[in-house]
């Protein structure tokens, strides 16, 4: 062992070996920092999962739960609890006029069946288990965010609908308290018996009804089997096995994306390892020939190099894991709003992954090169040749592909995704490679009289690897800031910034009067929920469609409206809008019509509150979805909803000068819910910023890997460059001239890499802008300039640092 490490110290003196180790280190740090972070987040999720549901099984519905189901569960000896969730405004009763949208959760007294609600007197004081039975008549529990928003302390009375309640305790932990990132409103828990007094729940309310069940595993399984065939489309069963809620699925997708981003760094680092190994093989070929003249066997040669690779990989695995562990702390700190405040400590699994990554990388990217060494013919040392032995290209390609595939699987554990990523990387490489060669040739032709360096494959390689690193960074930069800025800038200054929902029919006239008094004119749209059940009298279900969006549309309920005038931002494409007094006909948004294969004249049947209503399509509309106004997939004739239970919705622009109108609305209409778009925009912006920054941080590894590859590429041509410099010096070239030439060459490589990276980032960014935000393409010249300059600067510095020692090479070295 001592001998192995003393040999490793000797190899450490080789620049190629140091680069190889550096590339390995970058790969391991990229993998383990993400690995530790996702491991901690996963463990947090598993811990949450046990108490998340609050029971063994939950039946969720948009309608009140069928009492027969509850009776059957009781008959089978199962315990059950009830919850109803919906958003509503909560306002302070003091003069501050403060109010906040909250997620109200009315629960039966035995809630939860598993786990507890942990509460405290203040946001930070000692935690105890809450007992809903002990709550006084008008007491409720709330998350600290609600206390903060209302500037309240424990015991303070607030207005909830028609009722005054007291915020008794701070909720610190509760079942179904999913991560806070996508939870716009803080939670408020009130006993079910108080719900009626608030007057907030009406037949048209958009509420989620849940029934929790708990019991023996066998009983639950049997009950589930009994229940499942009887469920309507609006009802679903959730158990721990049925997958995680949306937020956590999003978190898992995010984690997978982070892992993929780190994989890009790994692949680039792999290129660095392959190049370093190529140089190492070149360098060591004469050494191996000498060793063979001394009597070294092929096995000794193989052991000598494989053991060094193994030690390097192990050192990189251990040191890289330690670095990755520290880096993930920053990542977890930065993303704590996504994953929660207190993550459990990480397991040792990422260390194993890091080591495995390093070993796989040396086996796949390095070993095939070094295996050539064992076949070095010793006679070549006498003949003055530095001829490398050949190994099967097929074997090298197989080893490389297998290593890449295993690395991808290790990171994503998804073969399809791995292949997609591989194709994406290959596609980017081909584009970069072609563009780089083209541009280099062009530069050469244009700049012949300036003695610009001749384009070759190695220069193109440097442009490609460094360009990919820069591209990923620049694209994220574009997406992170530019796109959101452009989207916001595209909205008019008087675009609505508040949505008022849940407006009851009897509140429409007084609300309109109040708004008119403040010179705010806005249409109020009636809104009902309806589920599509038939097209042209033929019953439809999600099985009739292959398209995932169509399937989802058939499971969920539509928000439908009816109005005499067409909403702003809507445009009839085919057919005609309704007559003022019409009571028949449908207007369908063009996108949904295409998805569901609907056409003019089709007869469509909706189930609205248990009643089936059939109408014919008389127009197709285009809708500007980002207009910040109420928009609907389906609109009915102005008189169609006259007899339906409904609520109203509107959007208004509240300028800073008119901010006092909101407290007035909430006070006068307690059931009305205000959704502050500005706050949501800020939150969304913050989320995107943080997510993009996290990914960008991972892509930084890609850039570092790019720099390592650059060094490796420079190292592989160092001998040739030394000779060139010696020849040029012998012909009279000064150091200053040589320095200028080298810097020019590196600036061209870096500038070109940056230029291509920024062009591609701009194209990809504009495609994303068009697809995600419907924005017109924009030419951001500053990005191209920044990318080009950044590339030129980075490569010039890195390149010059690598070769500056060669400038002092003496021409006499040519004679040795």
């Amino acid at each position: 062992m001592k001998k192995l490490f003393s040999d490793w110290q000797r190899f450490w003196r080789l620049a190629e070996m140091r680069l190889l180790l550096l590339a390995l280190l970058v790969a391991v740090v990229a993998v383990t920092s993400v690995g530790f972070f996702t491991d901690r987040a996963d463990r947090a999720m598993s811990q949450q999962a046990t108490t998340m549901l609050g029971g063994d099984m939950v039946l969720v519905s948009t309608r009140p739960i069928n009492p027969e189901f509850i009776a059957e569960a009781e008959k089978r000896g199962l315990r059950s609890a009830e919850t109803i969730s919906f958003p509503s405004m909560v306002s302070a009763l003091d003069s501050s006029d403060k109010f906040q949208l909250a997620q109200i959760k009315a629960v039966s007294l035995n809630y939860p069946l598993h786990g507890t609600i942990e509460v405290s007197e203040t946001a930070t004081s000692a935690v105890s288990n809450a007992s809903l039975i002990n709550l006084q008549n008008n007491e409720v529990l709330a998350e600290s965010r609600l206390f903060i928003a209302l500037d309240a302390s424990a015991g303070k009375p607030v207005q909830l609908g028609k009722m005054q309640v007291r915020l008794a305790r701070f909720i610190r932990k509760m079942p179904d308290q999913s991560t806070s990132a996508f939870q716009l409103a803080p939670k408020l828990i009130l006993p079910m018996k108080m719900l009626k007094q608030t007057g907030l729940l009406t037949p048209a309310s958009r509420a989620s009804f849940s029934q929790l069940f708990a019991g023996g595993a066998g009983e639950i399984k049997d009950f589930r089997a009994w229940l499942k065939p009887q469920l309507k489309k609006t009802e679903s069963i959730r158990t721990l096995d049925d997958g995680l809620p949306t937020v956590q699925q999003a978190l898992q997708r995010g984690q997978r994306f982070l892992k993929m981003a780190s994989l890009l760094a790994v692949i680039l680092a792999g290129a660095g390892i392959a190049l370093s190994s190529y140089s190492l093989t070149q360098h060591e070929t004469p050494a191996v020939a000498v060793l063979k003249t001394m009597g070294a066997s092929r096995r000794q040669i193989l052991n000598r190099y494989l053991s060094q690779l193994f030690i390097s990989a192990t050192i990189a695995g251990i040191v890289g894991s330690a670095l990755g562990y520290f880096i993930q702390f920053f990542l977890a700190q930065y993303l704590q709003s996504f994953v929660g405040q207190n993550l459990p400590s990480a397991s040792l699994w990422p260390v194993f992954t890091g080591l495995l990554t390093a070993w796989l990388m040396v086996l796949g990217f390095s070993a095939p090169h070094l295996l050539r060494l064992i076949n070095t013919a010793p006679i070549h040392i006498l003949q003055g040749q530095n001829k490398q032995a050949n190994t099967s290209k097929l074997f090298s390609a197989f080893a490389l592909s297998l290593a890449v595939l295993l690395l991808m699987w290790l990171q994503t554990q998804d073969l399809k995704l791995s292949i997609t990523l591989l194709i994406g990387v290959l596609f980017a490489i081909v584009i970069f490679w072609g563009a780089a060669l083209l541009m280099l040739t062009l530069i050469r032709k244009i700049g012949e009289r300036f003695r610009l360096p001749k384009a070759n494959h190695r220069m193109a390689l440097m442009v490609v690897v460094f360009g990919i690193g820069l591209f990923s960074l620049l694209l994220l930069t574009t997406l992170r800031g530019d796109l959101i800025n452009r989207w916001q800038a595209s909205l008019p200054s008087d675009a609505p910034n508040h949505f008022l929902i849940n407006i009851q029919p009897d509140e429409v006239a007084p609300l309109q009067r109040l708004l008119a008094k403040e010179a705010i004119e806005t249409p109020l749209y009636p809104m009902v929920l309806g589920r599509l059940v038939k097209i042209n009298d033929k019953t439809v279900s999600e099985e009739d469609y292959d398209n995932q969006r169509a399937k989802r549309l058939l499971i969920r309920e539509f928000n439908m409206s009816a109005n005499a005038s067409m909403p702003l931002g809507n445009k009839v494409i085919v057919g005609e809008w309704f007559a003022v007094d019409a009571s028949n006909g449908l207007s369908v948004e063009e996108g949904i019509a295409e998805t569901l294969h609907l056409k003019m004249g089709d007869s469509i049947t909706f189930d609205i509150a248990g009643e089936q209503i059939t109408q014919k399509i008389i127009s197709l509309r285009s809708v500007k979805w980002d207009s910040m106004r109420p928009n609907f997939f389906v609109m009915m004739a102005p008189k169609a909803f006259d007899d339906q239970p409904k609520t109203y919705i509107t959007s208004i622009h509240i300028s800073d000068a008119k901010k006092s109108v909101l407290p007035a609305i909430i006070k006068q209409f307690p059931s009305v819910t205000d959704i502050d778009i500005t706050a949501i925009m800020t939150l969304v912006r913050d989320l995107i910023n943080k997510a993009a920054f996290a990914v960008q941080a991972i892509f930084l590894f890609t850039l570092v890997a790019g720099v390592v590859v650059l060094f490796a590429a420079l190292q592989s041509q160092k001998a040739l460059r030394r000779k060139e410099i010696a020849i040029l010096k012998s012909l009279g070239a000064s150091r200053a001239y040589l320095r200028r030439s080298l810097l020019l060459e590196f600036a061209i490589i870096g500038g070109l890499a940056g230029f291509l990276a920024s062009i591609l980032a701009l194209v990809a960014g504009n495609i994303a802008a068009y697809l995600l935000f419907d924005l017109n393409p924009e030419m951001n010249l500053s990005l191209i300039l920044t990318g080009t300059l950044l590339g030129a600067l980075l490569v010039s510095i890195a390149g010059y640092l690598n070769v500056r020692g060669l400038l002092s090479v003496l021409p006499v070295s040519l004679f040795r």
């Binding site: 080789l14 050494a287 003249t293 066997s297 010793p378 006498l382």
Partner: protein
Amino acid sequence: MNNQKDSIAAFSAIKSSSTSPVIHCKGLRKQLATTTNTQLLILDNINLDIAQGESVAITGASGSGKTTLLGLLAGLDIPSDGEVKLLGKALSPLNEDQRANLRLGKVGFVFQSFHLMDNLTALENVMLPLELDSSSQTIRQRALEALKQVGLEKRSSHLPTQLSGGEQQRVALARAFVSQPAVLFADEPTGNLDRNTGEEIITLLFEMQQKNNTTLVMVTHDDSLAERCQTHYKLVDGEITT
């Protein structure tokens, strides 16, 4: 020509009559395939016997096959025809590893371009042949002693790039002799050195060869250097003469 060859064989046979030769070759022939698919004859019908402790010089014009012959005698390459025996063992039936094992600790090399490993210090370079042989003991002390013999004990921690050409060749000599080999093959040992340094190296080489009773087979262009060896063979068009 045939008479001349016969006389060489007879001469070698007389010299090795007392003990069996350290190097023996008979009817040695080497030809290489060219890019035009024709065979190029490099060496033809070489017969040699070299005794223990003998110093032999092989000279010849560029391309005469000197280096090829050296490689064949050392078992670095295999002949197209004929037989080579090194240290009493026929090389042809041996595979590459068996030939390497035969050289281990018993054969040393000195090259024109020194071929020191640039990531190893002078001492580590000298230790290398001993490290390859698992039976070696007191490796460090022996390597230091070898460096002392070539007058470089104070530069033991220097890397080759920190040494002059003459010093590098001294390290190479120390490396070649550290395992006290029975045979030393030298390929133009002064080719990369100035006259004075070359002279110093050659003096050292012969001193060490005599001290260790090592058989020396040296390829050189330098006739005056060849004359210092006990035997001087000339290679002309792939054939050997004295």
